[in-house]
């Protein structure tokens, strides 16, 4: 079949801004996007820059945006993304500076991995043999260990788009890998560190990382798990914790979200609360003020919602 590719290109040494270039190559029906790009590079245009190695979705080299979404090029069949012989759009991964064509700079990515202290830190004397650990706990960690550090989650993370300092889904999934490891002796230090600014509470749970992860690591799930662990260990003096609790309270109370109250209650300090005033003013003058105080009436069915809460709380 003929595979048509529209590739976003950038040459750091030339004076051209990023531009797109179209290629067409003849490929077998089973071809992946990576196979097609390699065909281009080997037989059509040797200057095309991309990273790739294993071709078996295990080395993590070839994450890039294909038709607008981060994917491993080696795991993406052409027929799956261009079923009717259409053109496949190929761009470099997002949220990382482009170095050349499809090659992005991973330096910050690795710095964030390093920032979570990504090695096992046991306490006490080492056992003579292996640590005795429940297999289910190990299997649970397998999901995070399966991360190949391809950066697909980072590419499409919406929180990183607005806060480049955010540790991000890959580093936080790696962080959980140690928090959840019964052999590690620094769970509390770790949780304390990860609750700091740009940490676990900065995730906006948009699900993008879950959706794009080629290895089903589901980083967001582990970020939520980190939050549960942090709360359980008493790291509760955080806007994120207050935010979650306030949402639950207001829904339990009235059957729906009291946005104004949640905003106020999430803020831990007077200063932060005051900073909300101008935001509220602007919302008011534009007619976007959510119903607050007495205006936040009980929805019909609020009683049923409350019962759901009560039953769940009883189960815990």
């Amino acid at each position: 079949m003929e595979v048509k590719l529209r590739v976003r290109r950038y040459d750091p040494e030339g004076d051209r801004k990023p531009y797109t270039q179209e290629y067409a190559v003849e490929m077998p029906d089973s071809a992946t996007v990576l196979d097609s790009l390699i065909q281009v590079r080997e037989e059509v245009d040797e200057t095309l820059g991309l990273r790739c190695s294993c071709r078996s979705s295990i080395c993590g080299s070839c994450a890039m945006r294909i038709n607008g979404r981060a994917r491993l090029a080696c795991k993406t069949k052409v027929v799956a993304v261009a079923p009717n012989g259409g053109t496949v759009n190929v761009e470099p991964a997002g949220n990382m500076p482009v170095l050349k064509d499809l090659i992005v700079d991973f330096e910050v990515f690795w710095e964030k991995i390093k920032a979570v202290v990504p090695w096992l830190r046991p306490e006490g004397p080492e056992p003579e043999r292996e640590y005795i650990v429940d297999n289910d706990k190990m299997l649970n960690l397998n999901t995070t260990v399966a991360c190949i550090m391809c950066g697909a989650c980072v590419s499409d993370c919406t929180s990183l788009e607005v806060d480049p300092g955010f540790l991000g889904p890959a580093a936080l999934a790696k962080a959980y890998r140690f928090v959840g490891d019964p052999r590690d002796g620094h769970k509390l230090d770790r949780l304390k560190q990860y609750t700091e600014a740009h940490g676990m509470w900065d995730c906006a749970h948009c699900f993008m990382c879950v959706e794009v992860c080629p290895k089903d690591v589901a980083p967001m799930d582990w970020i939520l798990e980190l939050r549960r662990e942090a709360e359980a260990e008493g790291f509760t003096n955080h806007n994120g914790v207050r935010h979650g609790r306030s949402i639950a309270e207001s829904v339990k109370e009235a059957g729906w979200l009291d946005e104004g109250k949640v905003a106020m209650e999430s803020m831990g300090s007077i200063g932060e609360k005051l900073a909300l005033v101008p935001v509220g003013m602007r919302a008011f003058f534009r007619g976007k003020m959510p119903p607050m105080g007495p205006m936040h009436y009980q929805r019909p069915g609020a009683e049923s919602v409350r019962r759901i809460f009560e039953e769940l709380e009883a189960k815990e």
Partner: protein, 558 residues
Amino acid sequence: MVYEHDVLVIGAGLAGLRAAIEATRKGVDVAVLTKVHPVRSHTNAAQGGINAALNEGDSWESHAYDTVKGSDFLGDQDAIEVLCQEAPGEIIELEHMGVVFNRDENGRLGSRAFGGASQARTYFVADFTGQALLHTAYEQSLKYQIRTYSEFFATSLIMEDGACKGCIALELRTGKLHVVKAKAVILATGGVGRAFEPSTNALICTGDGMALAYGGGAPLMDMEMIQYHPTTIKSNGALITEAARGEGAYLINSLGERFMAKYAPNMMELASRDVVSRAEQTEINEGRGVDGCVLLDLRHLGERVISTKLSQVRDLAIDFANVDMVKDPVPIRPGMHYIMGGIKTDITAKTQVAGIYAAGETACVSLHGGNRLGANSLLELVVFGRRAGESAAAYATSSRHARGGESLAEKDAQHIKQLTGAKTKGEMAGPLRLELGKTMNEFCGVYRTEDGLKTALDRVVKLRERYKGITVQDKGSAFNTNLTAALELGNMLDVAEVICRAALFRRESRGAHTRLDFPTRDDENWLKHTLVYKTDGEPRLDTAPVTITRWQPVERKY
């Protein structure tokens, strides 16, 4: 730039990182140089596990004998004894470093069965053991704050007074050449699978270390020994782990027979890889295949076993063979997978050239002889990676840095200029590589003949001539992957020539080297290693004795 370190490790797979960790522990200044980021290394691809005699009732002697037998008695028994004796300690160390090994019901390390092994002694992390080990080693390299030159390609070794003193390296991001001086160099650059098409190997497996050492005067040993893995997917050569058969999968032909009963009645699907691959190829050649393949049947294992222990390969089969192994058998065939041969080292990882040490697939100690057992390769990486680190650190305390500065890179700069500078449009590296790969796969595959090997050698020599006239179209400096591909092709052509010559040299059938014109093992004349040395003219062939400590060669049956 000119950099200086005591020990320089080239390659950052598990062998390289393990070596770097050990040398660091010995207190010397260590740097790792790798053409890809460490976690992109090909160790990732090892799926099934890592062997050690740790279970009650198992013994290192049993592991060693299985390895000796698997090697078709070509492995050096002193080296194999070291490997198997040190295996349990290394597994425990890896566990302490944080590897999330699978456990048994008591919370202890749980093992699985593997090919050619008389006991279930393969320890594992689902079906991505290599990846789990590599990432853990990378974590440790961060803990030890080991200096890593990531995305630097070694273009040549610095040789002075017959000793190796570091390397010249191309920084891929900038295209600049650097001089990296070191008192000792460890080569841990992996195999040369890309000289074959198809191959299970990653695109980065281009025999760089072998070519560097060979060029520096070190002999390559047993290079004719190429392993074809019995279960690879036809469309792209992707690997289905032996653990599938370890967990109980069957191999069946077009008649629905479990054909291994004819070839290995005792071990069946879990005979040595060379035996299984030959059996499959025979079935296919004799017309009992299915579209050039045989079938790997896992259906009786059930979805739970498949999804917890073989999840990654289930996805691979869905992606690349359009088959869900829970529901249908997977068409598979033998595919080039591993090279048992490599840079000759002793059991301390020392080569015949002062200052060069080697470990992992790039080296040949020899542990695997004519055929490597599954899950012994990861083991080799940690045991001999550690030994390389120890030896190189010790040597570095008594050797000196190279004289000279940036001018050491002059020759390589000229070479690169010549490759990129030519204005006329010469041949491209890509199609040449493909021709090389197809040639090697056709004539240096599961079954070989004198005529075929001569054809292969002839073609490789001609390809080398054509290689001299290639042009690198990309003239840029930043990430010129076109240039690195051309340099890699040069390495592969050197190594491929050695493979052909060694295969012509060994006139018997042993392990993975099956000559239809010499169909039996010939212990009288060929119970020895082949060596190939680079010279100014044709390569020089030689042999070396096999070390036998306690197991005399007997006929090999499974």
